[in-house]
């Protein structure tokens, strides 16, 4: 070590030390800044998602309120007027009428009865009153029974009974989604049967809708819900989003399946 010049060694060691401190400081501040940027982006994304969900929720609440208002007006106003008309029709003295007049009178009463029944059905479908009174499962059963009445469509419903409700708004969302799905199936698939089953898996309820005829695949669903004609599918997606659940479509020539998974809050 006799050949060593301490000045130059000192200079190099200090230089390396300074560079090391600079390097560590620079890398640390770079890392910190990137983390801060990442956190900020995440917060912004969460905020955007939250705002989007709030907008969807407001739109759906508005839609539900409007359905309720239309249902109540149909039931209380139109229904009451039709019932009163029917009553007045019964009070008409048909004795002075000829045969053709009596047939027309009876036909009027039949048509009025049918109208009252249809108004009641539409009103109940829109209002979802059964959902509040008897719960989700009964409302679904009643709806499926109604769509199969007077047609050759075979239906089968097997629902999980170990929970009362999926949550405050989740019931109405699931009910509307099943309504929309069934209406779509009837409209586009021309099925001969629809099977609906549900089961509980941990904290999630699975609803499985199986039907034959023309099916809808997940890819078609994703493509259609962005198109102008896919308003119903967009609605389904939004409602599922609000429940915190998910939906899967599988199209198969044998049997088409639509599966909904929704978190349940009140498991017995």
């Amino acid at each position: 070590m006799e050949d060593q010049n301490p000045d130059i060694i000192y200079l190099v060691v200090v230089g390396i030390g300074a560079m090391l401190i600079l390097l560590i400081g620079f890398l640390l501040s770079f890392n910190l800044s990137q983390r801060r940027k990442f956190r900020y982006r995440q917060e912004m994304m969460q905020l955007r998602e939250q705002q989007q969900n709030q907008l969807i929720e407001a739109a759906i609440r508005g839609e539900e309120a409007e359905r309720k208002r239309v249902a109540e007006e149909l039931h209380d106003d139109v229904g009451a007027v039709l019932s009163a008309t029917k009553l007045f029709m019964f009070n008409i003295n048909t004795e002075p009428l000829d045969d053709a007049g009596r047939v027309s009178h009876e036909k009027c009463i039949d048509l009025l009865t049918e109208s009252i029944s249809k108004v009641r059905t539409i009103s109940h479908n829109l209002h979802g009153g059964m959902l509040h009174d008897l719960g989700l499962n009964e409302a679904i059963r009643s709806f499926i029974k109604k769509i199969s009445q007077g047609s050759t469509l075979a239906t089968n419903v097997e629902l999980e009974e170990s929970y009362d409700s999926l949550g405050n708004d989740a019931d109405i969302h699931v009910y509307r989604v099943i309504q929309e799905l069934c209406n779509n199936i009837l409209k586009h698939s021309k099925p001969t049967y629809i099977n609906l089953s549900s089961w509980l898996e941990s904290t999630r309820v699975h609803f499985q809708l199986q039907y034959n005829g023309r099916g809808l695949s997940q890819q078609q669903f994703e493509a259609l819900r962005y198109s102008a004609n896919g308003l119903g599918l967009k609605n389904i997606h939004n409602r599922i989003l609000l429940t915190g659940g998910e939906i899967r479509f599988t199209a198969d020539p044998e049997v088409n399946t639509t599966e909904i998974r929704v978190p349940v809050k009140n498991v017995e």
């Binding site: 050949d3 090391l20 600079l22 770079f30």
Partner: protein, 233 residues
């Protein structure tokens, strides 16, 4: 024994990133450039190692063929390695960073080669490790590294994907920052503090190994991120 290990480490360590590199075909141009640099660096460092290890035999071999004896010292290989490293990493930065893509790669390369020419024509011998060349390398690449980090800081989009370029640049920054002062004063050190200069050369070898491990990690991380993308697709 440990001196031999340290001396050969700068050649052997290159095999680590090179092995990771050849386990997969990378399509990114900047990774291919690093891959090619590693191949050239392996050849140069292996040759330097052989000249150091079998110096006497090499001298006899050169004398037998009337080749100048300057080639019996491996110093010129470190000069070549420095030029190669700078050139490869200038191309690397121009193919990775948006901020460098606007400038034609040939311009900084030409400027660098011109500076190298000036160093060897007027100041240093090509057959002795050139402090000026190595310090120039450190300066050029550190400027590129800092520009790269600053550009990353300015980027609006923050990708969650593994950034192999960032890892390689971090490794290069560590290597160049630590070695800058060693390179800058190397010719003075070799005259005024020879033992310390030799010790510093071992420090250089260790930092070069760290740099190679950073490159290996960059290749490995890129491979993993591509694999996870394929699994999730």
């Amino acid at each position: 024994m440990y001196k031999e290990i340290l001396s050969w480490s700068e050649a052997l360590i290159i095999l680590v990133p090179l092995t990771v590199y050849y386990t997969r075909n990378y399509t990114e141009r900047y990774l291919k450039i690093v891959g090619w640099y590693l191949v050239v660096a392996l050849l140069l460092n292996t040759l330097a190692g052989f000249i150091w290890q079998y110096n006497q035999e090499f001298r006899n071999f050169l004398l037998g063929y009337n080749i100048p004896i300057y080639f019996a010292r491996n110093n010129f290989i470190y000069n070549i390695h420095s030029i190669v490293r700078t050139a490869f990493f200038i191309i690397f930065f121009h193919s990775i960073g948006v901020q460098f893509k606007r400038v034609n790669t040939r311009i900084p390369l030409m400027l660098f080669f011109f500076s190298v020419l000036i160093v060897f024509l007027f100041y240093d011998s090509f057959f002795i490790i050139s402090s000026k060349l190595l310090a120039l390398e450190g300066l050029v690449l550190l400027v590129y590294c800092v520009s790269f980090f600053l550009a990353k800081l300015k980027e609006e989009e923050l990708s969650l994907e593994f950034d192999a370029g960032l890892v390689i640049t971090t490794g290069l920054t560590v290597y160049e920052a630590i070695n800058f002062f060693i390179f800058l004063f190397y010719d003075v050190l070799i005259v005024k503090a020879k033992s310390f200069a030799i010790l510093m050369w071992y420090v250089h070898n260790v930092t070069f190994s760290v740099f190679c491990l950073f490159i290996a990690y960059a290749f490995y991380g890129k491979q993993k991120s591509v694999a996870s993308k394929i699994t999730h697709a």
